[in-house]
Symmetry: D2
Subunit: 340 residues, 4 copies
């Protein structure tokens, strides 16, 4: 940390999510300072970064990792590079924030986690939804016992439109790419380990997704060690926008998080009483959660506490995603014990 107590951060990758993190770190995280950015699109990134007063822009991430004035590395580069940068940053003694997933493969993930553990640095995974105020509130209601003993969790998670087909092909499949957020959410809310997964996958939106050996519609059932059962329903295309809801049900009642909307305006006319569609997509819906996530990352460094989402959390959701993929393909429930 610098003498002013600010955490000095280097960001690898200034694509869409990298830019969001940089903006948030600059404007909404008072205890952080972005000292350097690495991106292959060097000139564009330099121009863009200048408006935030960031002058140290490089093409090679290793320059950041090797920079002794940098305390923490935020990894926003393509998924395929995550594990490598995590390991190198760990070796260099940096605190690490890494977008999810660390890797699509179990081995690479475990290797990275081992490097982190060996180096004794912190690693926070980018499961940003935990920082959404709605889901956060639900979690606290569960924790505080207001819902009683938890029995059932229902998660609805639907995207407004499918990603480009090229992305689908390298995404690792719907469970690895999309549902993995819901797996982490389920684990976050339930506070127990998943023991068995049953998943049904369908292609109902775009047949080319079938050609890519993937699904565009999925229903998953998770059984937790503590007896909770969780359903998750996913679609790659909800014409009314990004549908992100959660309901928990227990012995003392239920709590539900409805969608966030652009306004609270309703219009009454001959067609009925109409309110807003949900906020369009994750950039709109989870805008605040991205800022909170960075704030909590910086806080855990400053206060030397455990990160709110760990590498272990990333590993566990990866295992569930692998089990779900296997379940959907083999059309049977898959025990977590079968995986890894």
């Amino acid at each position: 940390m610098a003498s002013d107590g600010k955490v000095r951060i280097g960001v690898i990758g200034a694509g869409r999510i990298g830019k969001i993190h940089i903006e948030n770190l600059v404007h909404r995280v008072p205890d952080a300072v972005v000292v350097a950015v690495a991106d292959v699109a060097l000139e564009d990134t330099k121009k863009w970064a200048a408006q935030y007063g960031i002058t140290n822009v490089v093409a090679d991430p290793k320059e950041l990792i090797g920079d002794p004035t940098i305390d923490a590395i935020v990894i926003c580069s393509p998924t395929s590079t995550h594990a490598e940068y995590v390991m190198e940053a760990a070796k260099a003694g940096k605190q690490i924030f890494c977008e999810k997933p660390i890797a699509q493969k179990l081995d690479a993930t475990r290797q990275a986690l081992e490097a982190v553990e060996k180096a004794g640095v912190k690693l926070q995974l980018g499961f940003n939804r935990r920082f959404d105020r709605n889901f956060n509130r639900i979690r606290h209601l569960v924790d505080s016992g207001e819902i009683g003993e938890l029995h059932i969790v229902n998660i609805t998670s639907r995207d407004p439109a499918p990603p480009p087909l090229e992305y689908v092909k390298v995404s690792g499949g719907i469970f690895m790419d999309m549902t993995i957020h819901d797996f982490d959410m389920a684990r976050y809310l339930v506070g127990s380990d998943v023991v068995e997964v049953y998943a049904v996958g369908n292609v109902l939106i775009d047949p080319r997704i079938k050609d890519a050996d993937d699904f565009d519609t999925a229903v998953t059932v998770l059984q937790f060690a503590n007896g909770v059962v969780c359903t998750i329903d996913n679609s790659r295309q909800a014409v009314y926008g990004y549908d992100q809801r959660v309901e928990v049900f227990g012995s003392k009642g239920a709590a539900a998080a409805q969608n966030e909307t652009p306004t609270k305006v309703t219009i009454s006319n001959e067609n009925g009483v109409t309110s807003d569609k949900p906020l369009y997509f994750f950039l709109e819906r989870y805008m605040d959660s991205f800022a909170q996530e960075m704030n909590d990352f910086v806080t855990c460094i400053k206060e030397d506490t455990a990160p709110p989402v760990t590498g272990e959390d990333g590993l566990k959701s990866l295992l569930i995603a692998m089990a779900a993929t296997k379940s959907a393909k083999e059309k049977r429930p898959v025990s977590l014990k079968e995986i890894g």
Copy 2:
């Protein structure tokens, strides 16, 4: 009362509201029996009444009023006849339910009330909205002190479409015909007397209503003796249907009654999230309240208690309506003391 303990009822007028009362008395008021109906449309009414097992149908209301086997008279004939039938029924010692208003004139109203008092019979006025489960619940919240000391009441009361112009011409004006229900509702909720009225009337929907020396849009402010202020906004035409809402606000919180709807279904699509329009008009919205009103009328006869809405209530709302009419025309607040 008959030996079976049932209240024997004669109904004067089998028009729209008369038919509703008869159906409710037959099917939903176990302690009542409709023994006779009077209507000028004798043949049609006979046919209609037969399906309810009612065989005693006459043209002349006085036959009912004079029938010694009848305990109570329900008056649903045109407004201009109310006062006369009330007085005759009172003289004949009958218990009386009368649709509102008793009369559009103060003298006639008072004369009728005096006849009722002299005869020592009961008179219940047809302010059916008091029996709506929503407004009833609001009243009980106020009564029980859950809202604390009451400060403000807001009533929204809009019809889906204006009545026929011929009706408007003899209606006594919007305050006497439409807002009078809201005046009674305000009195019911506040439990105090109105001391001053300020009303603004406009013609924004149909210029012919102006020609009839009436308004189609109105805003009224009532000041109550206990310090509560009540706003009422009326329109003769809400394109989304019958808008009937009430909000009370006090030192411990607020309570609001939203509109009732045909279903609880919402549709999410590219246009937004749409729920039902309110139930179309008073026959739909207040269906249950009409039945409850008859039940309570019969109960107050059986148990010899005061009717839940009295002739005095009718008189007081009439006075408020007269003050509101005067206020809107003279463009100044009118004290209730100025009237009657």
Copy 3:
């Protein structure tokens, strides 16, 4: 049918649901007349029936079935007697309404359906929820194409409190007794056949239910022939009351039926903004649907059309319930082909 065009009905069993059907037939089904009731509690039933003008009350159902003046039999006796009365009524040429299920066993069910088919009479099953205005509306939205091609259905169905343990023991299990309504609802909404069932059962509320070899909490996934996947979550105990919701999701949007409530009143105070709990239980929530169900039964007799819920519907839901029970016990998806 009688010369007045009314369908003459005999009701077997005047317990809770029998009484509801009789009241509805008397008050809310103009084209029906209840001419006789059979119940073992002869004296009590006679007294109760008298208030509806029903004087023909007998102890032995066979008297009704044998009565040539009766057109239709409504069977509300205990489940164990359904199949027998269906068969006898069919043989006697009566139109039949039977509370669900026909039987808990496949053989008995099929035998009864064969008798019905052979006799060429109508048989309507008591899946009353199809007549609920909310679910009805959802079905019409699906049918009309407003939701587009259907992809996912989510059903939440939770009781306010578990039934008596003695009832649980003979109920056939949660899937046969409770979820079977949801199976029928899913079939009604999706309009396709279930091909595979996966169910998870838990005992989280009352350990004695485990002793009875049953579950009190269940999650079921249905796969339909047309690709739709349906989730159902059940609990025997929702402390906030009877939770009965449905959501359908498709290519053009989604539609959801929220719970019905006693009033539309909200209270704003220091604790938040609070609205009513759902209507307490099925008698409150489905009151109107029971009346509609009887109306439609009588209409299908008068107009000689197919009943809105057939014996075949009963059989199919039974098969799904058997598959779900098997799935929950064997912890694997069960194909409908495996059953029956």
Copy 4:
């Protein structure tokens, strides 16, 4: 403007609202730069400003007004100083943003506006609610004709708790201090001039407010030149929080803005179904609107367009507030013509 195209701003007054404007200008208004701050609490302000990289902090506002490198002045000092600083800033050729009101007196207000006009500079008044996304949306629905011809506007505006008594005494009264925001909102939504005001004021919360010759509860009716009637109900104390709602009603339908809440979570338990109270007070509810207001101020300078809220708007709302005060005291409607 500086060579980088940024608008160079000096802020007078770094109290609560001044700090919010500075933070927003620094973090959320890319086209602005805060070059200097004036505040009497010099040392505290220096320390606070340093974290935003602002080093030029002075005690005397005139230093800012006289600084030729400054383009625009944002006035957040106490109300009693507004008019003077507006006039001086105008004379110095600065663009001006001034918190409302310019002055509590008509003369001082007019003098300031004349100085602004003479100098040919821009003056934007701090009616921040116009920038709230909800009210903004309502305005656009009215403008676009979606509501048809406007007939009725209802504004509910209640504070969570009364201000300190010392503040009440110098506030100019509830209509000048609190309702003035609603007057501007009404003008913004209706797009016409108020011609007559009727107001009722009460003291129902704290008798000391009566001693201060003010009201804590008020209902106001505004009549607009275009026939629209607007009701406003105010309370200084809503125990459930800051209640800020608007409803517009017209020939094609209605639009309503509900309260914003901390989360979209509902809890269902034995007490009912409870959702969040409104955001607590104006800092929470109007946080985004303050940023938008500054953005639009800077944009109107850069693009040399008229400010979205003008000095004229401030004057007109002041006149309405004066009329309302007079009306409440004299208990009669007051024409705007009577005032100034």
